[in-house]
Symmetry: C2
Subunit: 143 residues, 2 copies
DNA sequence: CTGCCACCTCAAGTCAACTTGAGGTCAAGC
DNA sequence: GCTTGACCTCAAGTTGACTTGAGGTGGCAG
């Protein structure tokens, strides 16, 4: 496959060109040269960008992801890190599950005000004590 | 119960005084007066702050939460919103579950490199297509 | 050969939810 | 009466992941 310029890579991956430049600046991807001003990328960066997307979806920061590439470009992923992250996610799932069930209950609850619903109040107390570490969910993917 | 000043409220809720001032500035809580410079809060703000914490944990923004209080201070929560949010959370749970399972598989996978593991590659593709909207989890609660 | 226009660079802006810091004030204790 | 120090105000800084904008440049169609 032929080398790709920024626009082609953007089209292939759905990422804006500005993001690709930003990733290059951060060292997450590397361009193999220029044609005039235009960057040229090896087609393998498409895979690399998928990997980056995966890391982001798993909750790793860009810096962490940067540390997961071997100098040769291949992934160098510590399996322990994956397990750890899986556990993180698992905890989050537990909290979100409690939250979801609580919200559903609150939505159906017959009590005149939420403040009089015992389930709601229990949920409130748990949240107040920080038991539900607020696990931000992003509005949505730019897609 | 006696009115509370900022320091007492901070102690009761575990929130830093700066956050309480910030919440007041945003209109999420109201102080009922001053003693000298010090704000005085009605004890009911403790409940209110719990409610705010709950909202945050459920993934609502502070602005959204601000819209959930009736002028009288009681919660005025649209049950539809709760159901919607529960569905949001449910979707997130689904994505996180896939991610967790994928990570666990990747951690155990016998393939010499992750790039050769079909499960891993499938996960990558899904993430690249944005199917896994990156649902940020915060490192942890300040607790 | 000339323009066009896509792409470039670099600095600055955005968003959310706070935190930090400098400098001010006032109720209370000695 | 004076010091102390907790609390105050207001502006600016922080973090992460980008986006935006002004101004520049060069390959290529005509």
């Amino acid at each position: 496959m032929k080398d790709l310029d920024t626009a082609e890579l953007a089209r292939l991956t759905g990422l804006p060109a500005s993001t690709l430049r930003y990733y290059e600046e951060k060292g997450l991807i590397v361009s193999i040269g220029r044609r005039g001003l235009k960057r040229l990328f090896d087609p393998s960066v498409v895979d690399r960008l998928s990997l980056i997307a995966l890391g982001r979806a798993a909750g790793f920061s860009l810096d962490e992801i940067g540390g997961m590439f071997a100098p040769d470009g291949g992934p160098r992923i510590d399996r322990g890190r994956l397990v750890e992250k899986a556990e993180d996610i698992d905890r989050t799932i537990g909290q979100l599950t409690a939250m979801r069930d609580g919200l559903r209950h609150a939505a159906e609850c017959r009590a005149p005000s939420h403040m009089e619903c015992p389930t709601f109040r229990r949920l409130m107390r748990v949240a107040a004590k920080g038991g539900l570490g607020h696990s931000r969910q992003k509005p949505q993917s730019p897609a």
